[in-house]
């Protein structure tokens, strides 16, 4: 593909739009802009621009479109599959300075934000107003723009759904520089194709999100978690479908193993509140009073004990919640710290198959001769498995990892699952998506991309493109 090589004239144009030297990085681009948090995909953009308005982005896109310069949007760079890596170099648009909360509309229960607002900032802001933005991915320093672009899920999906369920409207700069609005503050919308939903999860390939209207809920007054030790992982995971079937709706059902907990303790320098077991389920319930929640969880607690749980530990205060969930939130970083290099699988399977998948992963370690650590959202079927290099040579690691990955994705497919639950496809998972989706579906995706971006300048080589 013949893209125009970025040159001094292009830089001059960017300078005329941006007019602040410190918002353009040309020489000495930080190393961090060449990769994201995990994928091993590495490539430098020619220039990094930090816009602060829709108008700036529109002007840049219009110019890039005319001159056929590739553009890669980027938030906090916390992605795991290379979506925000400038594979074709060109211009990188870092949206982190567009980090204003524009409006909190308490009559419509919506908040309008710029894409660079961090998830943790958004959560804290709305909670101050007794409101609640439910999506809760582990990575709290991700931007909301990034969360929308991957349709991030997180730890409350069992009860509340994923990012897509909370996006009401988007302002988007299209690849040709035009500005479009999709959706709005409305609760219902049957007005033509749901382009807003198409944008969610499009990983920066269709347009650049410059504003998002998000749906909020009233903040539940109280949350209680149950940390449930089981004598074995099999017993723990085997209980999950029974919990789902019991019709109690926790906000989260997570599973975790002692090894990962120990890594998290070391990473955080803080002890986890329990260490009696090798395998745990972690359930969270929310509601408006302690009594109401106790009534809900009682049946689940009894069910778990009947299924062989060693105990059911109750976390009912801020301090206790912190001691558990801070640990849980640090798992990814902790595992990363426990090895030399790793790659990940983020597949999602029907919830009834979670136990089968977890057991498969466990057994695969021997077959593939590679250490695999997993934890995840047992309640929604989204499993994160990390393949660790440890002391292997890079070459040997890749050989074993690719073998293991092929196996895992094939198994997920067999169980009726999908390649990615929440991290996206980006650059790293393209071959697996291609294997898993029907060619008819791939053709449709390609047509959609063409309709938005006929010159293919926006984040090329991502998701399904070769």
């Amino acid at each position: 593909m013949g893209y125009k090589q970025f040159d001094e004239a292009d830089l001059k144009f960017l300078q005329s739009v941006i007019q602040q030297d410190d918002r353009i990085l040309y020489e000495g681009i930080n190393e961090e802009y060449s990769h994201d948090e995990l994928s091993g995909t590495s490539s430098y953009p020619d220039v990094v621009v930090k816009p602060i308005s829709t108008e700036e982005i529109a002007a840049i896109m219009s110019y890039a479109y005319e001159h056929e310069i590739p553009v890669t949007p980027r938030g906090a760079g916390t992605g795991l599959v290379g979506s925000s890596v400038a594979v074709e170099h060109g211009i990188m648009l870092d949206t982190c300075l567009m980090n204003q909360v524009l409006e909190l509309d308490e009559e419509n229960l919506t908040i309008t934000v710029e894409p660079g607002v961090l998830l943790m900032e958004l959560a804290a802001f709305v909670e101050e107003h007794d409101l609640f933005y439910p999506p809760d991915p582990g990575e709290k320093s991700a931007t909301i723009g990034g969360n929308i672009s991957t349709n991030a899920g997180g730890m409350r999906a069992v009860k509340y759904g994923v990012t897509r369920d909370y996006v009401r409207g988007l302002e988007v700069v299209l690849p040709n520089g035009e500005v479009a609005e999709f959706g709005g503050k409305v609760v219902k919308n049957s007005s033509g194709y749901a382009l807003k939903d198409l944008m969610v999860g499009s990983e920066g390939t269709l347009g650049i999100i410059t504003k998002a209207i998000l749906k909020l809920l009233p903040l539940p007054k109280k949350a209680i978690s149950l940390l449930i030790p089981f004598p074995s992982l099999e017993l723990a995971i085997g209980t999950v479908p029974k919990i789902v079937k019991s019709k109690a709706i926790p906000t989260a059902i997570e599973f975790m193993q002692r090894e990962v907990i120990i890594d998290a303790e070391q990473y955080l320098g803080k002890k986890f509140p329990d260490s009696q077991s090798d395998a745990y389920l972690l359930l969270k319930f929310d509601g408006n009073s302690t009594e109401e929640i106790e009534e809900t969880y009682d049946a689940v607690a009894k069910l778990c004990l009947a299924e062989g749980a060693m105990d059911v530990l109750i976390s009912d205060t801020e301090e206790r919640e912190d001691s558990i969930w801070k640990g849980r939130g640090a798992f990814l970083e902790a595992i990363k710290g426990s090895t030399t290099y790793m790659d990940e699988v983020d597949m999602v399977v029907p919830r009834s198959c979670v136990n089968e998948m977890v057991e498969y992963l466990h057994a695969l370690q021997q077959d593939a001769r590679i250490r695999i650590k997993s934890f995840g959202h047992a309640g929604d079927g989204n499993l994160h498995a990390y393949m660790l290099r440890d002391e292997l040579s890079q070459e040997e690691f890749e050989k074993r990892m690719l073998y293991a990955m092929d196996k895992v994705y094939a198994k997920a497919d067999e169980l009726g699952g999908q390649v990615s639950g929440e991290h996206g496809i980006g650059f790293a998972k393209k071959p697996y998506l291609k294997n898993s989706l029907d060619p008819v579906v791939m053709t449709l995706m390609s047509g959609i991309k063409k309709a938005f971006d006929p010159k293919n300048i926006l984040n090329p080589h991502k998701v399904f493109q070769d």
């Binding site: 109280k222 149950l226 940390l227 803080k270 002890k271 986890f272 509140p273 329990d274 302690t290 607690a301 004990l305 105990d311 059911v312 530990l313 109750i314 976390s315 009912d316 205060t317 801020e318 301090e319 206790r320 001691s323 558990i324």
Partner: protein, 262 residues
Amino acid sequence: MNILVCIKQVPASSKVEVDPITGVLKRDGADSKMNPYDLYALESALRLREVHGGTISVISMGPPQAKAVIREAFAMGADQGALLSDRNFGGADVLATSYTISQGIRKLGEFDLILCGKQTTDGDTAQVGPEVSEYLDIPSVSNVIKIEKVEDDGITVQMDLPNELEIAKVYYPCLLSVDKDIFQPRLPSYVRKTETKEREIPIYTLEDMGDKNKTHYGLNGSPTQVKRIFPPAVNDHREAWHGTAEELTGKLYDKISELKFI
């Protein structure tokens, strides 16, 4: 070893609301919990019992609903507990509270070791523990951050003083106020909670105290009165330093030494 842990029920939220007119803490309808510092004291007791055996009792003072924190202590593993509750105890300041608790402890039994949290999150005085020990005429050590050694006749602990760490052996019976993070407190167990649901919690009133003189308790026994309560100013103290890399490194080293990070 007979261990007693003093615990208190406090408002669950750290966001304390103060009535702007009366200047009194709003507690109506607010959720409550065990004082977080007391969890460290209770956890210390549980760890000691795991290794050295013995029994753990808990005592609390408050309205009848404060029984909830004693139940919670049972769910964490305490063996028995009592609540000091009487209208005559109401309105007590630090001195009267400490006196009431010391009387309650005398009623409850004899203990080798009494553990308290360093302070409460609602009163924040950090004085009740040491004052109880005065009334009981036993030694006390505050700001305990580590238990070094347990012997038949006493316990060696590390305390966090303003400018240094001090290690001292203190003989039984004694009282320790433990600082946070001495141990990570365990979570209450649903199984234990169910098992101890019917366990009796005696309520001690003025009638049960050795000293039945009303004027020693509650508002009557309090030489100090609270005039006004207000939330402390938010501390967002920050320091910005300028200088060469060498200067800043030295400064940073001094600062983190001062903060005892190294």
